[in-house]
Assembly symmetry: C2
Amino acid sequence: MRILITAGGTSEKIDDVRSITNHSSGRLGVAIANAFYDETTTIDYVTTNSAQKPSNTNINLHLISDTKNLSATLESLLSQNHYDAVIHSMAVSDFTPATSLSEEQLLTVLNRLLKNYQGNSLNMTDLKNEIRELEELPVTEKKISSETDHLFLILKKNPKIIQLIKQLQPETILVGFKLLVDVSFNELYTVAMNSIKKNQADFILANDLTKVGEKQHLGYLIAQDGSYTTGTTKQEIAELIKAAIVTASKK
Amino acid sequence: MRILITAGGTSEKIDDVRSITNHSSGRLGVAIANAFYDETTTIDYVTTNSAQKPSNTNINLHLISDTKNLSATLESLLSQNHYDAVIHSMAVSDFTPATSLSEEQLLTVLNRLLKNYQGNSLNMTDLKNEIRELEELPVTEKKISSETDHLFLILKKNPKIIQLIKQLQPETILVGFKLLVDVSFNELYTVAMNSIKKNQADFILANDLTKVGEKQHLGYLIAQDGSYTTGTTKQEIAELIKAAIVTASKK
């Protein structure tokens, strides 16, 4: 058996000294790697520098930092190897910084808009065109100056990396992850079912940050047919995922 | 002798799963702690969870995450203890996320501006008032939705924490740090001298990210009178700082 696990959280550079980081200790990924670890399983493990890592030395570690690295690494691994399952637990940045404006720069942009759209209103197409122009401004600053009382960051949405997985290996068993914050079970379940459809996932592990701690970790492993099992610790969740993959890979 | 060292980089929350982080491995802080470490010196060491830490167990570790924590911790330490020197090497976030807007929300804001300022232009006071209104919007989202092609983050400037130090302990020897990216020596020197004046620092360790690596680390320890010494590794920089403090504390 060969499996691919992603864990930890990506960071996207704002400038040479600052990043936007998605938090993830990497502990759940470690629990999953430990659950699968035996002599007959090859594990490729994609994670970040700052995340906790499995201690077994014959797991193949691949370190990435941002969504671009992650995407390139997954493309390379998925085109070189056949995986029985891909467990994509990494917290991936939804957005990447495109450009930043100081108060002075924002004032110039707003006054240009006031002049160009005199007496009219903007529609969404206008707004998107204006944003595109701003994004094309050359980024000249390596470290953003702090000489402004406010800084305006424009972030653009990243491509959904999870969708790469089934595009490159339609036959693999894909386990995706969905983390929401302080929602009802119904909302969590609905969002997870949508994620299964959008990303062609076989399973989604759905969890709520308010129920995630060092010792407890409430997670629902939801299958394509809507059925689910419940784990209350990282170890239980890891075992649920392993059992589901072993069963599915025998079909 | 009792000294206070700060090291690592602060993180500021955007929402419950994302932060803006200032990078800093914490290795220079470790080198400084090691240089000072002996039986007669008490070291309070303020750093973050993710930074490297000194291995000597009788250094007093104080963990912080954001600039608010840092400020509270420094206030408490500086009001409880007398420090012969404070070495503030931590990379502190200049800005904190105040609010975020989706494309839809930005469109609404811009059309309100177009209506209110018809035929006129905005000045800086108008802009600051408009920003203040946006900042006062209640933040309802615990995890920002990714259902927008662009996200607009408004960041507000943090108070300068380094200025706390001499306000609370005018007699302490303060070593500040200035990291720029890819500038000339003259620019680095000028910015460092300004920082000495603004923050009442006794010394500034000025360095340029393009000359900072695992093994090499070019740094200039600049004194109030404009004289400076040069170190080429973290250990050399740490020894320069120690020597300067020992000399200054004998005066």
